[in-house]
Amino acid sequence: MLTEIRGVSKTYESDGNKILALDNINFQVDDNDFICIVGPSGCGKSTLLRIIVGLEKPTCGEVFFKGEVIAADNPKVAMVFQNFALFPWFTVKENIKLALEALGIKEKEQDEIAGKYIKAVGLDGFERVYPRELSGGMKQRVGFARALAVEPVLLCMDEPFSSLDALTSQNLKDDLLMLWAEKNMPPDAVIMVTHNVEEAVYLANRIIILSRRPGKVMADLKIELPRPRNRKDPEFYRWVDKVYSLIV
């Protein structure tokens, strides 16, 4: 077991009112899990992800990663952001190397590792390019490369495709699945937040459905569809339908 989310609840204060965003979330993440957390807007799924990663503390409950309470800078957990979050004054390679430098890795090794993951996500040729010159899709590739470069055990992604156009998004998802299939590639497990059900069925082997606020776990579904998955497949559509019926 990699991550255990135990009795997690989160309450916010807004204009003097207490708002319960998450209500007693419980589940475990194991090796080889590709989990998509889906739910309507405002159900708290992004908040939940931030708590899992350690960027926020739950009001009640705990998140354990490999037996220990999660801390934000745990090097075994890496995050990919919806709006890419690249440093504009660094090139693609420098952005990736920064994450490695933070781990205390020496310059030469940083270079090698960064180079390896740049190739892995298909960014070769773009090493010395600045984020402002990149399209959204390429920026997110850098986000992936950076997350993978620290060789995390758990990869967390917050709506990583929602800022991209449909075709680029398609391309990136397929590339992600290719990387996921590679045995020698990190991570061991993925948790992704999305509001797009089709996307979740396309990518995940496990879907956790959150209810409307306050977010509760409505269902924890194992997706039994062989890969590669095809949107046009009627079986695919049946799974999408099933998820929708659980949400609505």
């Binding site: 600045y130 156009d165 391309n171 095809n230 046009k232």
Partner: protein
């Protein structure tokens, strides 16, 4: 000449989408599936055609044999195919020749923009520049140094 304003990623996305439909798909349905307008899908189709990945007949988009083989490959191997395909695009061939002929195999951005203006009738050479550089970077053929504002040939690996 008309050059499609589309990135390589979008083109590959299109190929994957057509592949999902079995290798042939009606353009209108494809647009509908991805919730795309005409303006958004046409450039991708044009781009895919230019690279020899699709053939368009009667409103149907059909994957070529090259495309089907391409889609079977992994990310690294796909890069090689992209390189070969992009090398064959007329405009890019021209640009590479110009670079090969120049002194340090470099060209100032201003000259590149002029080159684009001469070959594509447009008043927005800047956007075309960005697209072309996107293609050539993907292909590992031509790079662009934004600090020095010049494009240069990339070394063959």
């Amino acid at each position: 000449m008309i050059f499609p304003k589309v990135t390589i990623s979008e083109i590959i996305g299109l190929l994957e989408a057509v592949n999902d439909a079995g290798g042939v798909e009606d353009a209108a349905r494809l647009a509908g599936d991805f919730d795309l307008e005409l303006d958004e899908i046409l450039p991708s189709i044009d781009g895919a055609e230019l690279l020899g990945f699709v053939e368009v007949k009667n409103g149907n988009i059909e994957l070529t044999a090259d495309a089907k083989m391409f889609l079977e490959l992994g990310i690294r191997d796909r890069k090689k195919i992209i390189r070969d395909k992009v090398k064959g695009v007329e405009l890019i061939k021209e640009l590479r020749n110009r670079l090969l002929e120049s002194d340090e195999q470099k060209m100032k951005k201003g000259d590149a923009l002029k080159f684009i203006n001469n070959n594509i009738s447009t008043n927005d050479s800047e956007s075309y520049f960005r697209i072309i550089i996107n293609w050539t970077r993907h292909a590992g053929l031509i790079g662009y140094n934004s600090d020095a504002e010049e494009i240069c040939l990339m070394a063959e690996k």
